[in-house]
Symmetry: C2
Subunit: 389 residues, 2 copies
């Protein structure tokens, strides 16, 4: 298979938007194309992540409409859906169609507009990711699932709940601190541990500030063969590893602190890249809830199982730490328009590798990994990017 690189990226501001999913897609896509010195007609295929547009905007087959929105017809345009992991699925698949030699230049993107339905209905819509027979019917929602993850984590490792709660709050504080430095982030406000503890209880032990927001936004990445990439940019970011893994609903998983989907996916990505977790400088991961960040840092191999919470306390995940986790502010602060999230993680890693992140720049970042999780811990995707210059 051929070497593959990201040559240009684009992203809307995340937050509350009056634009449609198609309009936000266009904005991000045209930014990515402009950065790549390409025009829409240079794109050979579109790979689009979108999780719930059928339920929020009443729009299915959105990839075809999106392609046409930027003037493209005739090319293959495919929607990928794996709940919150949709965007990463699109990037991973785009990678393969270029790596195989079939296409030279393609566009991977993600778009999602979720604030339009209001929070209550948005929560019900997200719940379609749960198993429709065995889970949704019980009344459990995603905050409830991640609350169970937190309790299981404490139980398994003998960590007092109050201790984990403080570590989780420190994740929120860290990610908000980074979000202040990201002009595309939804929340640009520092918070304190006390703010977290004083916020509304959502699903014990998760309080409001342990939860990422509901968001609108889009992101896009132009992906090309290494040969083409070299002609378009002097800073190509090589995609050196991809992975994707699945699990069924909660009833098919025994241990919510060790996710089958992630451990399989990460292994695939590291193996393809010939890298280990110790080689990673920066990581954009799926902190939909603060506890999810702690569990993800362990599943990705950065810390021993059971040590992820302590690692936060040691400062290992913050700017200047062992591996900088979510320099963009993460889902928690940057926002989480679900179908766009995986592509926005690629946007951040590419910009970090380029050294173009300004005040939130991780000095000398050479290798980064993304991590996106969908559904009841039911799908995880990973993309490893390496500086190509």
């Amino acid at each position: 298979m051929r070497q593959v690189a990201v040559v240009g990226v684009g992203m809307t501001k995340f937050g509350v938007s009056e634009k449609s999913e198609l309009e936000m897609f266009s904005e991000a896509a045209m930014d990515a194309l402009n950065e790549s010195n390409l025009k829409p007609k240079d794109i050979q295929a579109l790979f689009l992540g979108n999780a719930v547009g059928g339920l929020t905007e009443g729009q299915t087959i959105i990839a075809s409409h999106a392609a046409a929105e930027i003037g493209l017809q005739g090319i293959p345009a495919t929607r990928f859906e794996g709940a919150c992991a949709s965007g990463t699925m699109a990037v991973r698949d785009a990678f393969m169609w270029v790596a195989s030699g079939y296409y030279d230049v393609v566009l991977a993107a993600g778009t999602e507009r979720q604030t339009v339905t209001g929070t209550a209905f948005a929560t019900r819509i997200m719940n379609t990711g749960a198993h429709s027979f065995y889970e949704s019917a019980t009344g459990i929602t995603f905050p409830g699932m991640f609350a169970m993850m937190a309790h299981m984590y404490c139980h398994k490792y003998g960590i007092p709940l109050e201790k984990l709660k403080k570590q989780m709050a420190m994740v929120a504080v860290k990610n908000h601190k980074m979000g202040v430095l990201n002009p595309k982030a939804q929340f640009r406000k520092e918070i304190t541990i006390e703010d977290v503890f004083n916020s509304m209880m959502i699903a014990s032990p998760l309080q409001l500030y342990d939860c990422c927001p509901i968001s609108d936004g889009a992101a896009a990445a132009v992906i090309a063969s290494a040969d083409v990439a070299k002609k378009l940019t002097d800073k190509p970011a090589y995609i050196v590893g991809v992975g994707q893994g699945c699990a069924g609903g909660l009833s098919t998983q025994r241990d919510y602190t060790r996710l089958i989907a992630r451990e399989s996916s990460a292994q695939q990505a590291y193996q393809m890249a010939g890298l280990t977790p110790q080689d990673i400088d920066i990581c954009e991961l799926h902190d939909c809830f603060t506890v999810a960040e702690i569990v993800a840092t362990e599943g990705l191999g950065f810390f021993d199982f059971g040590d992820g919470g302590a690692a936060v306390e040691r400062g290992d995940t913050q700017m200047g730490g062992k591996v900088v986790i979510n320099p963009s502010g993460g889902l928690k602060s940057k926002g989480h328009p679900v179908g766009a999230t995986g592509v926005a993680q690629v946007y951040e890693i590419v910009n970090q590798l380029r050294g173009s992140c300004g005040a939130r720049q991780v000095e000398g970042a050479k290798i980064g990994i993304t991590d996106t999780m969908g559904g009841p811990f039911a799908s995880v995707g990973n993309i490893i990017l390496r500086r190509g210059w």
Copy 2:
């Protein structure tokens, strides 16, 4: 890229089912695996077409749940959505992951349960395939779009509407005649031209019997590298060409009798296969409405533009004709559980190549093509299969 083959196929009966999309998937998938002499653990990735499960069953990220339903975890499981073309997108993508050399054995499948919501809501759900801003809001539905196609066809080629209506009715009669011979078909009842003309008017000139039904069902295909295929079966059906094309909504298309999406897709597939329309023995195509079959036979290159209706009258598309169209009974008679349709077309072609179709067998069929269209003529996929023995 490597040669790729279908080694085993499975399919539920199409019609009205009390089973869920996951249960129907399991049935089709296990049939395909059994026929391939494989077990679930042999499958390296799942590619699943599903169009509107989020709206009908409240189930998203269905590919992960589907994988788990047959005991698979850890592997990548991806849902593909392009309205009625979803299943073909899954097959085409599965092809690439094997052709590239990355996987040796994967499962492509489609599942859809649409009768559960009732016809009125099913129509609204299908309408999410239209452009949510420019089309859905106008009140147009898919029968209306294909009615416009029929009127434009008559206008463009100077064909009296009554003449086209008879040709369309002959499509329905032909496909019902084949459906009688297909034990998996939803409708196994011969109809007459008079039955069509006496049926309820839906969207002039389309009457009830010009329209395919709303259906439940699933289909699956095990796809492997040629080397692996040879070990598993003495009758591999090679995938020798794939294509996919898009268009935007109706407002982006000038001529509904010449579909941008199909003409691009078919060209890609024929070119990859090194074949022409004259090489094709059998074709399973997207007769969601009878006029759609006529237009498709022209877009696929079997007949001159404007001659598709006359071809039906000449008997060119029936058993024993120049190219047998929809030997399975087509969407019109076999049924159209949308996400499953593209995979079910592969199921029929593979069985025709094998000579295992009994009373509906097309003698000596060696090369077949599938054609699946989604949305407002917004996506078309094609798969060309060739007998491998």
